[in-house]
């Protein structure tokens, strides 16, 4: 069996400022007209700074840090969604990520059709999707709505269906942004069991979380991110302490 791993070497990641700088005729004219304009420079955001890290087969890594510390960026970089500005990223294994579940339905198509499309988005084959479609329908448990267009769904139903599809198949490397809870209490319980199974089946887990309870339950290694830098990498308890010290909440 081949070993799965994640190897990051001196990774830097910038969000380019052009993306959110205002580009309009107004700002263009303001720039050329004489007179003083209050200048608000928008700089590139240095979201991840010099990240060097190795994760080996079997590790359960927790990612903690304040809001905006770079946890989600880190996960999306590992998933290959965000390009790195410098450094090298090597990921071996099939990556399965659960970030924003409610994204990406075709509103005009029915629930059943969307099960197929979402499965294909994740790189699965139509043949495989046909074999699991009934399981997904049963798990989502939204009754006759499964044959209605997605745009008739309530928000809760959309999340349930999205969750049922996205958690149907696991991968070698599982990236989780918070342990996702969805729907009513009854569904929550099913969802938790499903996630736990996914985590058990994965070879490598990286979990970004604010919940120290699930961190202690699930992870055997924790990384503290602070303003895009790794401040601590090691056992869970000292990591929680370090996090408390950095944010000034710990005693």
């Amino acid at each position: 069996m081949t070993e799965n791993y994640i190897r990051l070497d001196a990774i830097n990641l910038h969000y380019s400022a052009v993306a959110f700088r205002e580009r309009s005729l107004k700002t263009l004219l303001m720039g050329v007209t004489p007179g003083r304009h209050p200048k608000r420079e928008v700089h590139d955001v240095h979201a991840l700074k010099n990240i060097t890290l190795q994760v080996r087969q079997g590790e359960r890594v927790g990612l903690i840090g304040h809001n905006g510390a770079g946890k989600s960026t880190f996960l999306k970089m590992v998933a290959g969604l965000y390009p790195v500005s410098s450094g090298s990223r090597h990921v071996k294994g099939v990556v399965r990520s659960l970030f924003d579940l409610s994204l990406g339905f075709e509103p005009e198509a029915t629930g059943r059709e969307n099960i197929l499309y979402r499965g294909l988005l994740l790189g699965l084959t139509p043949k495989f999707m046909r074999t699991v479609a009934e399981d997904i329908v049963a798990f989502a448990d939204i009754g006759e709505f499964i044959d209605y267009p997605i745009k008739t769904y309530s928000a809760g139903m959309q999340v349930r269906l999205a969750f049922a599809i996205s958690t149907m198949v696991g991968g070698d490397i599982l990236l989780l942004d918070e342990v996702i809870g969805a729907g009513d209490a009854n569904f929550m319980q099913k969802a938790k069991a499903r996630i736990t199974k996914l985590i058990e089946d994965s070879e490598i887990l990286i979990l970004a979380t604010h919940d120290f309870g699930s961190l202690r339950d699930i992870c055997d290694r924790a990384i503290v991110l602070h303003h895009g830098e790794i401040k601590f990498d090691g056992a869970v308890e000292p990591a929680v302490k370090e996090y408390g010290r950095l944010t000034g909440t710990g005693k």
């Binding site: 580009r23 990406g104 294909l120």
Partner: protein, 261 residues
């Protein structure tokens, strides 16, 4: 172009094929005539236009109408593929933010959808020609279907290049509408090529890829002739150039698109 990229497009084939089919279904959902509209729409427009043009240019309506029809359906394909295509990354934002597929699959999806509409629409042209000019039918017709892959291979890379730009500069769509209008005006799409040549504007015909592409349909169907080698060479050259431009823009932009969405 790098092989892994092309491989990625192939790997995702089920995804973009199904999306294209879904787009086609969505297009005609809850309409009585459904897909028949892709035949009726150009036919109706052609009748209207050729009635007017035939009067102005004093030509027979039966002969001139297929000329307009052939120009219209192919041109509509380009308008739809390029204008929708320029926004196709923006449209695919939820997918792009969840899974890393080669971005060109999202313009391929649009190209494919519009290609299927073009194939449907071309049935009306074939029907018309068979009734009005049956004498044109012959062996040369076998090359006419080549217009489908050729048109797609030109439109896809151009749409992809536009989509990279469109993700960053949202002004592109209105600007593109203007450019397409201008292109239409200087191309022998509704107006006969001879009209340009007689006016000393032969350049607009001979160096116009749209003219050469249209000749692949028009020579056999409307005149019963084989298209010339130059017609095919011009299409081939355009395809190579379009892919080169898309690759040059994509090389720099492919990774960064996600930041602009």
């Amino acid at each position: 172009m790098k092989m892994p990229y092309i491989h990625g497009i192939y790997e995702a084939r089920y995804f973009w094929i199904h999306l294209a089919l879904s787009d086609l279904r969505a297009k005609w959902r809850r309409s009585y005539l459904g897909i028949a509209w892709s035949l009726l729409q150009p036919l109706g427009m052609t009748l209207l236009l050729s009635f007017v043009f035939a009067k102005i240019f004093k030509q027979s309506i039966a002969g001139y109408a297929p000329y307009i029809l052939s120009g219209m359906i192919v041109w509509e394909f380009f308008i739809a593929t390029l204008t929708l295509g320029s926004m196709s990354f923006v449209q695919a934002e939820p997918y792009i933010k969840q899974y890393r597929h080669p971005l060109a699959i999202y313009t391929l999806r649009n190209t494919l959808t519009n290609l299927m509409v073009l194939v449907m629409a071309s049935l009306s042209l074939i029907g018309w020609v068979l009734i009005v000019m049956p004498q044109n039918f012959g062996w040369c017709w076998i090359v006419a279907p080549l217009v489908f892959p050729l048109a797609a291979l030109i439109a896809w890379p151009v749409a992809t290049a536009l989509a990279y730009i469109g993700a960053r500069f949202r002004d592109l769509t209105p600007a593109l509408a203007l450019i397409m209008q201008a292109m239409w005006f200087v191309s022998p799409i509704y107006f006969e090529a001879s009209l340009f040549r007689n006016g000393g504007l032969g350049v607009l015909v001979d160096f116009n890829p749209i003219y050469h592409l249209l000749e692949i349909v028009r020579a056999p169907l409307l005149r019963g002739e084989w298209p010339t080698f130059v017609n095919f060479a011009a299409c081939g050259f355009t395809i190579v150039a379009a892919f080169a431009v898309a690759w040059l823009i994509g090389r720099k932009s492919e990774d960064k698109v996600i930041f602009y969405l």
